[in-house]
Symmetry: C3
Subunit: 480 residues, 3 copies
């Protein structure tokens, strides 16, 4: 019996075959210490605006804000209240963080074989130097150890950012966000990476709240857009003007990309009058579900046009049925592990956008799916043809070792590696970033070693491909 924490295994993820494993290890060796390029994620920029910012308790850091963690505990009957997840109405939840940690540790076995389990173990071992396996018995001792580290300057956000060797990290920010934290970071002596001379932290323009007519609080978001842009958004034309205004501001603040979340990839070009009428209807709170779908589909095409003009890379994430569990949503709000994927269609849905702008090399549109059946059927054929398209990495539920294997298996032969966009960690859990990138680098190295050991590529190819996967493709796709 081996009681060592598993992530101390230097060959983890690699094929057990000795020949493939040796090649994978060599390929990984070449890239494992490269800087992290993180072009899409959800870390809170405030953590880096204040040089004295701290993480709070181990539960604040690793449990309370991470829906990957508490969804699994909840699925086995552990209440979100007992995990300290804050309620919307402020009603009481567990406040003893040692107790929350104990509950988590006693159920840590639920994460066996899951990516969350692998990331968490890597964080404990590699970030916090934990030597024991997390169980109910070791919970408090490990809590002590993490808590004591978190009080030291070496574990403040900026220090970890540097320790993690992150070259650049993008956040995701509402169109109406004043980007105050980004401004503070840029103004600080830490904001610019000394080697690249470029911002360490970049915003990403995410206009869903003003673009999706049926988004919760849409009217308030439009008002906020008017206020921050200084453009009275009272018509379709002024909406476009305000969006262009905000994109220009985001770009000036270091953004290289926009991000769009929609239930489907539906696009449709509306005439100016129709778009105007639909927007006016929405302002009067009369927009139908169908109006919302069509208006969003039209604005996606407009966003592609703007991307061609201002050079911001466009990301599209589709297929998540948000807040599926109504009572959890009502009590705790969004992002509580209740978003469930649905079937997604791209071929017909994106045709209007692609027919208009897909041949334009100035556009880069990165596509993400939660429906893996689209990899081989739609996304790889589309990405392997349209100059404007890149296939994004495995997203969310599929950002796992097997999810990556399926992606390499199903997408690469048809799309070609160069039509993909490298890796995104897409996380709000900052300390998991190194573990996520390392998992991708290991999965990439193992995939490439598999091609090599089967004689399908040669060693020169393999060396270039592993660099492509690690940093080159992400830098290129996101213009970083």
């Amino acid at each position: 019996m081996n009681h060592q924490p598993p992530t101390t295994n230097p060959d983890r993820c690699f094929s057990p075959d000795p020949a493939q494993r040796k090649l994978a290890r060599e390929l990984h060796e070449n890239v494992k210490d490269l800087p992290i390029v993180s072009p899409h994620g959800h870390v809170d920029p405030r953590l880096f605006a204040d040089p004295e910012a701290t993480w709070g308790s181990p539960a604040d850091l690793l449990i309370i804000p991470d829906h990957y963690v508490f969804r699994m505990l909840y699925s086995q009957g552990i209440s979100l209240e007992s995990l300290g997840v804050p309620t919307r109405d402020g009603s009481a939840v567990e406040t003893d963080h040692r107790q929350i940690w104990q509950t988590f540790a006693e159920s840590f076995y639920l994460f066996r074989g899951t990516p969350t389990g692998i990331w968490l173990t890597a964080e404990l071992v590699e970030v916090f130097g934990v030597k024991k396996k997390l169980t109910g018995d070791t919970a408090q001792e490990i809590y002590d150890q993490i808590e004591s580290k978190l009080t030291t300057p070496d574990f403040r956000p900026r220090a970890l950012f540097d320790k993690f060797n992150i070259e650049v990290m993008a956040t995701t920010d509402a169109a109406t966000d004043p980007l105050t934290s980004h401004q503070q970071i840029l103004n600080s002596d830490w904001g610019i990476h000394p080697s690249t001379g470029k911002p360490r932290i970049r915003p990403t323009f995410r206009p869903d709240a003003v673009v999706n007519l049926n988004a919760a609080g849409w009217r308030e978001s439009i008002d906020a857009l008017s206020a921050i842009s200084g453009i009275a958004v009272d018509s379709y034309c002024s909406l476009i003007a305000a969006l262009e205004n905000r994109r220009a501001f985001f770009k000036q603040m270091g953004a290289t990309a926009t991000d769009h979340g929609a239930l489907t990839a539906y696009t449709e070009e509306l005439g100016g009058e129709e778009a105007d009428a639909m927007f006016a209807k929405a302002l009067r709170s009369h927009a139908t579900e169908e109006d919302a779908t069509r208006f969003t589909g039209h604005l996606l095409i407009e966003m592609a046009r703007m991307s061609i003009e201002d050079g911001l890379v466009m990301q599209l994430h589709v297929g998540s049925c948000r807040n599926h569990n109504r009572s959890i949503f009502e009590r705790f709000g969004p992002d509580k592990g209740c978003d469930i994927p649905v079937t997604s269609e791209f071929t017909r849905s994106l045709q209007p956008l692609l027919n208009k702008y897909g041949n334009d090399p100035r556009l880069t549109l990165v596509l993400f799916t939660l429906d893996e059946t689209a990899y081989s059927r739609e996304l790889a054929p589309l990405a392997g043809h349209y100059p404007a398209l890149r296939l994004g990495p495995p997203w969310w539920f599929h950002d796992s070792f097997n999810g990556m294997r399926r992606y390499f298996d199903q997408a690469m032969e048809t799309a070609g590696l160069c039509n993909t966009a490298g890796f995104n960690d897409d996380t709000r859990a900052f300390p998991s970033i190194p573990a996520r990138h390392d998992l991708w680098r290991r999965a990439s190295a193992d995939w490439i070693a598999g091609l090599l050991v089967r004689g399908l590529i040669d060693e020169d190819d393999a060396q270039e491909m592993v660099f492509d996967c690690t940093t080159r493709l992400a830098r290129e796709a996101y213009r970083l």
Copy 2:
């Protein structure tokens, strides 16, 4: 050339990689002799009610009732008549069971690499001690060998049940079934398992025939329900009362679960008046297809409520387009290998049921799919969130070595092993039960060995996981 029957290979199914194979063998060794827990299947309980019951001929046992077997022969142009499959109208079919066996043996090569081939070979070798490969040349000799065994007391159903080390086996029974055989078994000195003190054979409540308004013979089934429950089922309310009455009886007879088959997972809560009107319409034979879909969808929600109240575990099997081949259905009836899967949707379909009862830990709802695309897209995310949900094992066409590999690959990282329900053999072919469970145990051991050899779990995890897969999860999910 190796002419030994393949199932004599003690390492069958395991990865060829020596390191993984060694681990898989060790893990399998620990669980291969554990008792069989069979919480869902279709074996006829009459076989165990009469201690003198026998199987008939080798063709009666292995060919004539098994649609897994004759579908493959039929697909290659061998008529069902020539295989002795009885016709609805009693028109003549082959009655020479030696000839049926000969036909089967000459085409046994069709099963190469199929799960049916693997199960049949295992049955021949391990249950009947056959030493030669089944071909046209060896057919009669092997027939003799099986036939002579079948006449001995050691091969009677109860004897095989004990020899197979089955701890508990659930049957599937219509809501209107009087459960006479189950009563006889319980009354016998064999009915209670000596180690567990619990029934060896348990019924499962399957009300499809009375719940699906468009089921063939629905009106007759309703009358039978009235008769057996003593409740005149003439309204929606009396239907509910009769169903509750029957569930109570099934529970008293040892049932721990219900089972529901539907074309889709659609659920919708109807108002009481609407449900009543729909049921009245159906009684007048005026129910439309849409009524049937909505009424079934409503009753699924009602069944979840009853499960919360009476503690019976709820199973839902969806996605089979039954009796696709009309002429075969008309001539031979249902369950003749002509059921073909269709696309299945769960995320939106189950939302009404899950929003009502999915957070209630008293409910266990086990989901089965014939559409594997739902594993990673919908079922694993749902099971990894809702406390009431468990993902059932690979079903029917997917209950194969590769089907299991895809299931482990696609479902486990997101659902987590503990949100699954272990294994079901789901078979009417009693002698295949050990082979099916052994295949699952081997596939599980190989999957877990793969995680271990890649450093993704440790050895303690591996040991617990292989026990989980073998018996613990099934016992827990089915409250056995």
Copy 3:
């Protein structure tokens, strides 16, 4: 670092596991030199009608006509004009074939790990004896080498056909094609294969242009059908008569199969009057989209009837959304790498056809999909039941090493190998034929070796299965 071209690796594609690799190598050894049976493809028969025919330049041979090649280059921003792809209006494109080749060579790295890359490398190495890796630096030297070979008699089409050891190759030909080239080939001293005594090159009857009411140029195709059949096609009845007439001619010219391409697998039997009315409406250019779908669906059933009568094997390819990129289609025409798959449904769509003719052993219907999700869910269950059905090999985007692995994994356990149709190369790139068949033979050998090394089949099974995959199943399915 190994700079040898990868295809010189005699073990390419095989599992790295030494035990499986050894078995795969042995199985492959037994079949690698078997003649090529190519029952479905798109090579131009004119190349073989004239014994002096040549290929033109290396760019004419390998780049300009091959949409697999230029789609990938186009996806990375290389214009089709710069690759010499001819425009519809004759506007200028690159005519310097050395420059086209240089452009291609400089971007050849894009094909790393893709099937096109594997085929091209095999062609360069094994057909043209190229010893260096294709890059910008080696481009002109390799161009010289290929160009000089192409001028020799040994590299003329008929000589390569013989050198490739092709036993029989089917082309795909419009219903209105006079089959002049086929006639010339049959009349020549080369037309009949000396070993088999049968035609080397066979036509395939493809009536899409007259069957799909909304096909571009449908009216002109109907006129051409009238002209060539001598039957005035002015009614549904005369259409049927003309199609039967042409099928008889194709059969007389050596055809053993028909081929049907449709967006979906929808079938529906229309009454004679309805079909007649719909056809009349189409002649008046009034057919709707729905008419076209229903009429095609009806004619597919009629084609099955004709196949039963004349013995031609029926092929059905569905799920490609043709000419997705409108501007490329308008400038360059069809088959320019812009066909993108969509979701395909078979279970319900084919039920009318299968209920009418699926039980008839005189019919062989070979099904192809671009939606791999249908393998395990619909196609394998259908093929494993209906006597008339065979599952065709992985098609188009899935005709790759991993595509084949997924096919073996997902289809074979349920369909059974004997319900599949062996391999099709489906190519218009003649010199890629040996590489494509070899990839299939290697993938088959590796799959079978995997079953063997896991103890799921025995060595006798393995030997027969690898022959089945290589030639027997294709010969049987296509009646060659």
